[in-house]
């Protein structure tokens, strides 16, 4: 399929698909007013700058070989967790997409960092396709900020496809202006014995929805889906996840942590799906909410659908506040209660970041987290 065909197909999909509606399970507890994106007719690409750009290309500038590698990623790029319509429109802007093409056995020491500056008063798209060659090892960071202090709309699409035994770490840091809305569509496809981690860190936006899925279709594939969110004031974060196991001996691990302040609201809805033949699957899913104010709202809908045997699956979800005893312990050591609470919340969230087990990514994520926590302290 040529890029022009793809564009036409996506425009057609956009026209044909219905707007999201209340009867969809994917929008249970969700904010349809934000999610419908009714008035948007076209997207523009966010301003983009890249660090460590050796393997990153514009899709309009690819060799035949590269186009061949891109093709399966394009095919799987449609959204399935509630926002296919708006994602199709964003994808129709395919000429603005970037393609990271890492050759086999290539090991990158430094992360590839992409800075997006979303333009206020418009609908922005970011489209990133990542192909990890066999046995390659690298990490990619996407940073989302606003160009000025006015609201914007963004749809960010990141599709990762790995060949056998590749190790990929992906981190998206979202800190756009506080009245903006942003929708992420992240998908990872793990090849044989591959190991892919994908993490979203949310601090900005009035409404941020992330739809993240991991497809483990080959033996031995492993995926980590991670998320850290720190909403305050009226911020609303809506998280939908899907872990699909289609081959035996695949594993996945999901850890989403939210620390909620003021009138913040989160929705977590996750599903582990184990197909009939995917025996010996290990899949875990955990969502933890730390309620820091008495006006917050946390919704969790962890789900399991198991059709195979010899499977180890579990999900857990907790929502609670910090125990008085924990604060007392720190107070007894001379720390004021406000600082004590922040320390505990930080420790709670850092656990997710540490799961990336990559010092450089951890530093970047921790910096963004600390920035938000410092802001909360002032307020």
């Amino acid at each position: 399929m040529t890029l022009n065909d793809f564009k036409a197909q996506k425009l057609q999909e956009f026209d044909a698909l219905p707007l999201p509606s209340r009867s969809e399970e994917n929008w249970r507890f969700g904010n349809l007013k934000q999610g419908k994106h009714e008035t948007i007719e076209s997207f523009r690409a966010a301003d983009t700058s890249v660090t460590n750009a050796a393997f990153i290309h514009s899709v309009t500038d690819l060799s035949d070989d590269q186009l061949k590698r891109l093709a399966p990623l394009l095919e799987k790029s449609g959204a399935t967790l509630g926002s296919p319509k708006v994602t199709a429109l964003a994808l129709s802007n395919i000429e603005s997409a970037l393609f990271i093409d890492i050759p086999s056995n290539e090991i990158l020491e430094e992360p590839i960092i992409i800075d997006y500056s979303v333009i206020s008063a418009s609908a922005n798209n970011t489209l990133l396709f990542i192909h990890a060659g066999a046995c390659s090892q690298f990490s990619v960071v996407e940073k989302y900020t606003s160009n000025d202090n006015a609201p914007s709309t963004t749809v960010g699409v990141t599709i990762i496809h790995s060949e056998a035994s590749a190790t990929v770490k992906h981190l998206a840091i979202q800190s756009v202006q506080e009245e903006s809305r942003i929708t992420f569509h992240h998908r990872v496809d793990g090849g044989k014995d591959s190991n892919i981690s994908s993490c979203i860190l949310n601090t900005g936006a009035a409404w941020a929805r992330s739809e993240a899925s991991a497809y483990l279709n080959e033996n031995g594939a492993h995926a980590n889906l991670l998320s850290v969110s720190v909403p305050n004031e009226n911020q609303e974060y809506d998280q939908r996840t899907f872990q699909s196991h289609a081959s035996p001996h695949t594993t996945s691990d999901l850890l989403y942590k939210n620390s909620l302040y003021d009138k913040a609201k989160t929705v977590f809805s996750g599903l582990i799906f184990v197909e009939e033949k995917a025996h010996f699957t290990d899949a875990y899913q955990t969502c933890r909410n730390l309620l820091m104010s008495d006006t917050t709202e946390a919704n969790s809908m962890p789900g399991l659908e198991i059709n195979a045997d010899q499977v180890k699956c579990s999900h857990g979800s907790t929502s609670s506040t910090i125990e008085e005893e924990e604060i007392f312990y720190l107070k007894a050591r001379g720390i004021d209660p406000q600082t004590a609470k922040q320390m505990i919340a930080r420790g709670f969230l850092i656990e997710v970041i540490e799961k990336l087990s990559d010092e450089k990514l951890e530093t970047l994520a921790t910096e963004a987290l600390d920035q938000k926590l410092a802001q909360l302290r002032l307020g």
Binding site: H279, N299, M301, G303, I306, D309
Partner: protein
């Protein structure tokens, strides 16, 4: 090694082993009914039922409102199974009432069924009733002492029709209030055509030591298709109510849609025990909910073994401070069965606590589903919820799903949810077989072990019967 699957090797045995064999109860016979509303549902059906039962006008209105709501509401297939579309509402008889005695004699009851009764240790009189030999279970002899004691204490224990006619002043304020007609499509259906079920009122401070059972009452409608039960426990009273039984129950109709409402006033305690073992062609779509006021406690103890599709999510609305709700649920889904069960916990007052423990076993191509809802609104303090759901998969074709939804607003609450899926491991079976158990016994022991801590929550005779039921089926299957 990739596709080696231990369960494949023991498929047939275990399938048979865990099979509770609903076919044993799966027989029908002709009964001449005095009153028959005919096939299909219309205003005329509703009028017929009201006229035959000589009900007051407000019930006629209530039924008609139910019918309209039922017709207006769509099937909930946006979240529930498509199998619901296979129900043909125009082919169902909505009201049948006896008058003549059934013609079946004890000699005609299949031997296997007699054997099952024997092994389960079901009392003689109950056997006749369960096998359909007697349309009514004669409770007078067995429970007369108890009935006398009940009425001395002021306990009302009657059918729902009698309840609404004779005790309107207690019945009416609560009837349809815990579960409004429009709650869901099937509660609306029940509101339109309900018959049978129980009405129970426990006066202030009365604590019943013996559980009340559905078949205590002389009433052929107590196992009805569209039964409607309302239990009101006045301040400080305690009651345990049991319905169903572990033995397979015969059922000629394919749709069973009951509504059960519980009201526990200040400090009262209600335990509602259900053991459901309908034959495998029945759609069992039940709405059950309780309202717990200050310091009250409502416990649903639920076991689903039979039916083709069960959709049942017992709920507790905790409306008073320190109210407590609990759901304990066991489900066993075999070939062609879908046990879609769960719990709803609505916290509506401070310091309310709820607990949900659900265990399901999927055998063969059976599918079990857990759906839960926990709701803690704003401005409440100190609410707690614990949800655990564990699933056991016996065969490689078995299926299990979990879909909980937990909403917490405010920060002074604690909720936790955990679910796990596992299977009887090769090592576990090997260990037991090495110690001289055969495969069936080993599987039986493993399954009983899995649900053991919940079975203990059932009244003694039920838990013993449940265990025997599993053991019995295991033994027969291994040569």
């Amino acid at each position: 090694m990739d596709d080696v699957n231990i369960s494949d090797q023991i498929d047939e045995d275990t399938q048979a082993a865990i099979d509770v064999n609903q076919s044993k109860g799966d027989f029908t016979y002709d009964v001449k009914h005095k009153y028959d509303a005919g096939v299909g549902l219309s205003e005329a059906t509703v009028d017929y039922i009201t006229d035959v039962k000589e009900e007051p006008e407000w019930i006629r209105e209530f039924r008609k409102h139910g019918l309209k709501t039922f017709e207006d509401k769509p099937m909930p297939t946006n979240w529930a199974t498509e199998d619901l579309n296979n129900i043909d509402f125009s082919k169902i008889r909505y009201y049948l009432s006896g008058g003549t005695k059934p013609t079946r004699s004890w000699d005609e009851v299949p031997d296997e069924m007699k054997e099952t009764f024997e092994r389960l240790g079901i009392p003689e009189q109950e056997r006749a009733f369960l096998a359909g030999v007697e349309a009514q279970f004669d409770s007078e002899a067995a429970y007369s002492n108890m009935k006398e004691e009940l009425s001395k204490k002021g306990v009302i224990f009657v059918g729902s029709t009698e309840g609404l006619k004779e005790h309107e002043e207690i019945f009416r304020p609560y009837f349809g209030k815990v579960i409004p007609t429009g709650d869901n499509k099937f509660s609306a259906l029940n509101s339109a055509v309900f018959s049978g079920g129980s009405f129970i009122y426990i006066p202030k401070g009365v604590k019943l030591e013996q559980p009340l059972q559905a078949y205590f009452r002389i009433n052929s409608e107590s196992f009805g298709q569209f039964e409607r039960t309302l239990i009101i426990a006045d301040e400080g009273s305690e009651v345990m109510y049991m319905e169903g039984c572990t033995a397979p129950s015969f059922e000629t109709s394919t749709l069973h849609s009951a509504v059960v409402e519980l009201v526990a006033l200040k400090g009262a305690k209600i335990q509602y025990v259900t053991v459901q073992n309908w034959s495998a062609n029945v759609f069992n779509l039940v709405t059950k909910r309780g309202l717990a006021m200050e310091d009250a406690e409502i416990r649903w103890i639920d076991c689903n073994i039979g039916s083709r599709l069960t959709m049942k999510y017992p709920g507790v609305i905790m409306k008073g401070r320190r109210a407590r709700g609990e759901v304990i649920s066991i489900a066993l889904a075999n070939d062609g069965q879908h046990q879609d069960t769960g719990a709803k916990m609505i916290h509506a007052a401070d310091e309310t606590t709820s607990n949900v423990v659900s265990k399901s076993i999927s055998v063969g191509e059976g599918r079990s589903t857990y759906r839960g809802q926990v709701h803690i609104p704003k401005h409440l303090k100190g609410c707690r919820n614990n949800t655990e759901c564990d699933a056991l998969l016996i065969n490689s074709t078995s299926r299990t799903d979990t879909y909980p939804a937990i909403t917490v607003r405010g920060n002074d609450h604690v909720t936790q949810h955990e679910a796990s899926v596992s299977q009887v491991s090769e090592e576990m079976l090997f260990y037991m077989q090495q110690r001289g158990l055969n495969e069936g016994e080993a599987m039986s022991l493993a399954v009983n072990g899995f649900i053991n801590d919940l079975v203990r929550e059932f009244p003694m005779e039920y838990s013993v019967e449940l265990k025997r039921l599993i053991d019995l089926e295991m033994e027969g299957s291994v040569g």
